[in-house]
């Protein structure tokens, strides 16, 4: 008797969970494409909010180019995350008080810095992912480059 009751309860549970599960499954798959775009938009908005704490204009479409300043081995000014879409041009300036090398990981690009001069980093982001940008010899993390599809 208890055995029967038990298996009945189990079956009921399975049906219930399966029903719920299928429901969510269907809705999510239907809205996948929409949510994906939504997700990436939210991602870029969040990064912009982070960025606005330091510089006013961070949107890649704006004329003003985001700027990062390095003094005495530390980052004193500039955004933490730069978001672009695949195929867009990444553009930012670095002003460091040391001669070093800006290394864009993943894309493996190197840009030399000259003390007191602004270096323009500019390239087309061809792959999605989150890429580190570092001041190589100093081992200083400059920003994360977030490239969304």
């Amino acid at each position: 008797m208890t055995k029967l009751l038990h298996s009945l309860m189990l079956v009921a549970l399975v049906v219930l969970v399966a029903a719920c599960g299928d429901g969510t499954g269907a809705t999510t798959s239907a809205s996948t494409s929409a949510t994906t775009t939504a997700a990436s938009t939210t991602a870029s908005t969040t990064s912009t909010t982070i960025a606005t704490t330091t510089t006013a204009a961070t949107s890649t479409t704006a004329q003003e180019v985001p700027r990062i300043k390095v003094e005495d081995g530390a980052k004193t000014e500039g955004l933490d995350t730069l978001s672009v879409r695949v195929g867009e041009t990444v553009r930012f300036e670095v002003e460091a008080d040391v001669a070093d090398e800006i290394h864009v990981h993943g894309f493996d690009l190197h840009f030399d810095t000259v003390p007191g001069e602004e270096v323009l980093v500019e390239f087309v982001a061809e792959a999605a992912g989150i890429f580190e940008v570092e001041l190589e010899a100093a081992g200083l993390h400059l920003l994360d480059l977030e490239v969304t599809p």
Binding site: K3, H6, S7, L10, V11, L13, V14, V17, A18, C20, G21, D22, T24, G25, T28, S29, S31, T32, T35, T36, A39, A43, T46, S47, T81, H103, H105, G106, D108, E126, A127, A128, G129, I130, F131, E132, E134, E136, A137, G139, D144, E146, T148, P149
Partner: protein
Amino acid sequence: MIRAELIGHGIGGRLDLPVPLSYFAAGAAVVLVVTFVGLAALWPQPRLQDGPRYRMTDLRLPLRWLTALGVAGLSLTIVAGSAALLAGTDAIGSRNLAPLLLWVLFWLVVPFLGVAFGNLYSMLNPWRGLATWLGLGERERPVAVRSWGIWPATAILFAFAWLELVFPDSATPSTVGIAALVYTVYLLALMARFGRETALTIGDAFTPYNRLLSSVSPWGRDQQGRLVRRGWLRALTVIPEWRGLAPFIIAMIGTVSYDGLSATQWWESVTGSFGSTMFGSTILMVALIGSIGAGYFLACVVAARLGGGNLAPTRVAARFAHTLVPIAFAYAFAHYFTLILFEGQQVISNISDPFGIGWDLFGTRNYKINFFLGPIPVWYLQVGTIVAGHIAGVVLAHDRALADFKGLGGIRSQYAMLVLMVLLTSLGLFILAG
């Protein structure tokens, strides 16, 4: 969204975009359905517990050559690490083959390939090769396996993961070279003391690591190196229940979880500056492994109660440890496979200049990484792997429960175990969603 601090820092500096919420939800839904269907509707009799069903093939593997390859890899790692010191090019991210050999090929590619194709490490194992050539450890003292189990290997696994995830200079060539040298001395001494195979079982983290993962594979081999078919997952059910087996597998899951979790923004906001110090991150890694272990033990206590058998919780913990192996693999694979696919390509450029001193041996030194896989297939693969690992875990646990507990006790014993597996899988998905 995710900060790179880990091996990605030295090896590549690229991280995956977080998995979108919809993928997370779909994965979790599948996991729940599978779990409960699995609980009730899977086979009523144990199917996998008789272990591998060997079918010989005629293919013989070149064991000697593979061992020589392993020894060559170990030597190259040590030489490249030393060369970086001598040439003054010892820095994170500098061009050198040693970090790639250790952190990508040895630590990820070999075990992962093993899951599909059988235990490659047991053939490549450079330390067994060296000890054989040196005539070390001819006399086995298998009694050590009974008293120590794989506890020393568990400690080594933890130390290795600590070096990878906590130690700031993990990706410098010299760190890698020194680690390889120290480990060689340690393992040769251990082999001389306890015998080759005994020492490898108790004290070489990579022997149980590769053996556990490759037990998923349908391929094995016999002593002479003949390839043998044995069926998926079957070798896992006959893994010896060494002492420390469950802690070893828990450490596998815990360290990868730490790697993933510590890179999420959530983790950063919770642990703050404490989590960014070496001491703090060590404590947090231990705490995370400990919590997963506590969760597993709790599930075993409940299983022992509800199962109605006479098994003590510690016995249950040993009997069900193997069911976590697919989950451990899924965690690791979902977390690291883009590192292999993309950063692994650095092998192509670095092999032309293995010591970072300006050579161009094969004309490939300027090879640039080709990011040939976009984020959407990556997300599918990540979520798919986690879900597949979960399914394999549920199946293994179900099968073992039928064998160890009588009647409905088998199903009842799984309530807590399945809750734990669902939690672990959700944690895995959560990490991916960053």
